[in-house]
């Protein structure tokens, strides 16, 4: 079933409505293995709802969402989907403030998630190495023993990305990773995400056009719950439909 050519994510005709308002309206799109994809769109385009559907937080009224061609995400709950290999970074950074940086990563570490196994769990040398490596990658090795609550906004974003890496997911969903970041931090984040993609697929939702340009990937533009345009940054920026609804405003 799981051939390498199988897309990692396949959304088909997904519709979600809240009190009659269609947050997603027949949305269809495909993410290939190892792909880095950027999704843009004005407020209310359905970006966050799309992530909710993929991670099991929201059930669509209509349509299907397949992960690696075999798992129907519309029928599974959050925990199961997370354990299948889909990691999600929230719009606002959500880390465990009362835990240290390394404890945050330890909790995200791919391991047996059952309560009794966790009660007796010990961190092995290999796992420690993995934690150290990710701390290096996200630039927080110096802060290993500090509480996450003491980190700056940008560092918290990176810690959350680091937690996603610890889960070792095949698909990462990253919601507005550079909101509130300085220019320097934004550049570092773009480099980090590009480094991550390849071994895994990454879907980034972002408003910041500078950042989207820095990622230099295929861009999908959402509008009113469906795909408006798809292509390179230059292509979508010159698409008259896009200019009209989004960039032109």
């Amino acid at each position: 079933m799981n051939k390498p050519s199988q897309p990692v994510l396949y959304l088909d005709d997904v519709t979600v409505s809240f009190d009659g308002f269609k947050a997603l309206n027949g949305l269809s799109f495909v993410v290939e293995p190892g792909e880095l994809r950027t999704i843009i769109g004005p407020n209310g385009a359905g970006k966050t709802t799309m992530m909710d559907v993929i991670t099991g937080k929201t059930r669509p009224d209509k349509g299907t969402a397949f992960f690696k061609g075999v798992h129907d995400l519309t029928k599974l709950d959050e925990e199961t989907i997370a354990n299948l290999g889909i990691g999600r970074k929230f719009q606002r950074p959500t880390v465990f403030d009362n835990h240290t940086v390394s404890e945050n990563l330890e909790l995200a570490l791919k391991a047996d998630r059952r309560a009794f196994r966790t009660l007796f769990a010990r961190i092995g040398a290999a796992q420690n190495e993995r934690i150290e490596a990710v701390m290096e990658q996200i630039g927080l090795a110096e802060r290993a023993r500090d509480l996450a609550g003491s980190l700056s906004h940008g560092q918290r974003q990176w810690l959350e990305i680091g937690m996603l890496l610890m889960q070792d997911p095949e698909l990462l969903l990253v919601d507005e990773p550079v909101a509130g970041m300085t220019d320097h931090e934004t550049e570092q984040t773009a480099a980090l995400l590009k480094q991550i993609a390849g071994a895994r697929s990454v879907v980034v939702v972002e408003h910041d056009m500078e950042f989207v340009r820095a990622l230099a990937t295929k861009v999908t533009v959402l509008h009113e719950g469906s795909v408006l345009s798809e292509g390179t940054v230059d292509h979508v920026q010159n698409d008259p439909k896009v200019i009209e609804v989004y960039l032109g405003r």
Binding site: G46, T48, T49, E79, H99, A115, T118, L119, A121
Partner: protein, 392 residues
């Protein structure tokens, strides 16, 4: 950097406190000797009632640990833990009733007095087995654990949190109180279970048995403390505090929040049951008033006063509030409830980390710095744990 500094400072204070904790344990362990080995004429003599009183406090401290485990570490504010305490107490009470045998008022070898009084002809099925001490001990763990499992499974699976959960725990204990008040239930109704004679063949009314129960309570308190410390120090403990601080994040990491909450809730209920089982032989009675919603709320206040999210704090709070209660109720009994309420408000506003917060002990509780009314809702767990995703 400052967080790191605070933490190491906190750790130093904790390890600095260790000799004091050991000294307190030794003093507590030696207290009954002042009752047993010192003649009543001596100024050092400790009267019987004092041993009974401190023995009671030891049981309350175990209950406080149980509440702290779910409230301080998982953020589940249970206002119904008195129910688990009372169920453990009733299980022990049933053993003690059966142990009376034919020495009751009506000399019935099988039926407890209240059943003879109600003209019951045979022992209800659920009273069988309680003549066996080990069976009773098993029930002390199993019945509160089972109730917590069923209640918790329904509540946590439906993602009921915050004040809503607190309210239904109150309803649970209130419903049980009403049920146990009924004579038809077969638990002695209004009067509950009392007139106990002996436990494992030891007369309950001798100084030796009293001291024995006291020591058993102290040993159980220490064992419970070590058990809780091990649990909260494990990786599971870190998942539990993570659930408290950002529940949906934990879910998206792939943990079953329901199962983790259930684990903590059931363990906590069993600990509360053990506390009740040790309490009943010492006070000599168990009746439905132990199920009263107010009793559960009072126990939560002990934890708030001592320091939510700190195991030492929970124990300290139980001793401090009950000590104050014993002292004050002998002077101004009618004022006690006002004072208790006042203490709760004052602690919430000015001392959100409780007594242990005063000593700068590292508490795992939520860090709340400014005194404000917002603390109240934080302590009650009404603040949404994770930022809500914006709807487009």
């Amino acid at each position: 950097m400052s967080a790191r500094l605070n933490q190491s400072l906190g750790r130093a204070l904790v390890s600095g406190a260790r000799p004091y904790i050991l000294a307190v344990i030794v003093i507590l362990a030696l207290l009954p000797l002042l009752n047993l080995a010192v003649p009543p004429s001596s100024p050092f003599y400790l009267p019987d009632f004092a041993i009974k009183l401190i023995g009671k406090w030891l049981c309350f401290a175990i209950l406080a640990l149980a509440i702290d485990l779910v409230w301080g570490y998982v953020g589940i504010l249970s206002l119904g833990h008195g129910a688990f305490f009372a169920l453990g107490g009733y299980a022990m009470g049933m053993y003690l009733m059966r142990a009376i045998g034919d020495r009751g008022h009506y000399k019935n070898p099988l039926l407890p007095d209240f059943m003879v009084f109600l003209n019951w002809k045979e022992l209800p099925w659920y009273w069988h087995g309680f003549d066996n001490f080990l069976f009773a001990l098993l029930m002390v763990l199993l019945i509160p654990g089972l109730l917590a499992f069923v209640f918790g499974w329904l509540a946590f699976r439906s993602r009921i949190t915050g004040v809503y959960l607190s309210i239904i725990t109150q309803a649970m204990t209130f419903a049980l109180m009403l049920a146990f008040f009924r004579n038809d239930m077969g638990f002695g109704g209004n009067n509950g279970l009392t007139d106990f004679k002996d436990i494992l063949g030891f007369n309950l009314h001798t100084d030796g048995t009293r001291a024995g129960l006291y020591w058993a309570s102290l040993a159980m308190l220490i064992a419970t403390f070590l058990l809780c410390r091990w649990v909260v120090g494990s990786k599971l403990g870190r998942v539990l505090t993570a659930v408290r601080d950002a529940e949906s994040r934990v879910r998206f990491l792939g943990y079953s929040v329901t199962n983790y909450k259930l684990f903590a809730f059931v363990l906590s209920a069993m600990i509360a049951g053990v506390a009740g089982a040790l309490y009943v032989p010492q006070v000599g009675i168990i009746n439905p008033s132990e199920f009263s919603p107010a009793a559960s709320i009072e126990a939560v206040i002990w934890v708030a006063v001592g320091g939510r999210g700190s195991l030492v704090g929970a124990i300290l709070g139980a001793f401090a509030v009950n000590g104050a209660k014993s002292w004050l109720t002998s002077y101004a009994p009618e004022l006690w409830l006002f004072i208790l309420g006042g203490i709760f408000v004052a602690v919430t506003l000015f001392l959100p980390r409780g007594i242990v917060g005063l000593f700068g002990q590292k508490s795992d509780g939520p860090r709340i710095s400014k005194p404000s009314l917002a603390n109240l809702s934080k302590m009650l767990g009404t603040v949404p744990p994770a930022p809500k995703e914006q709807r487009p």
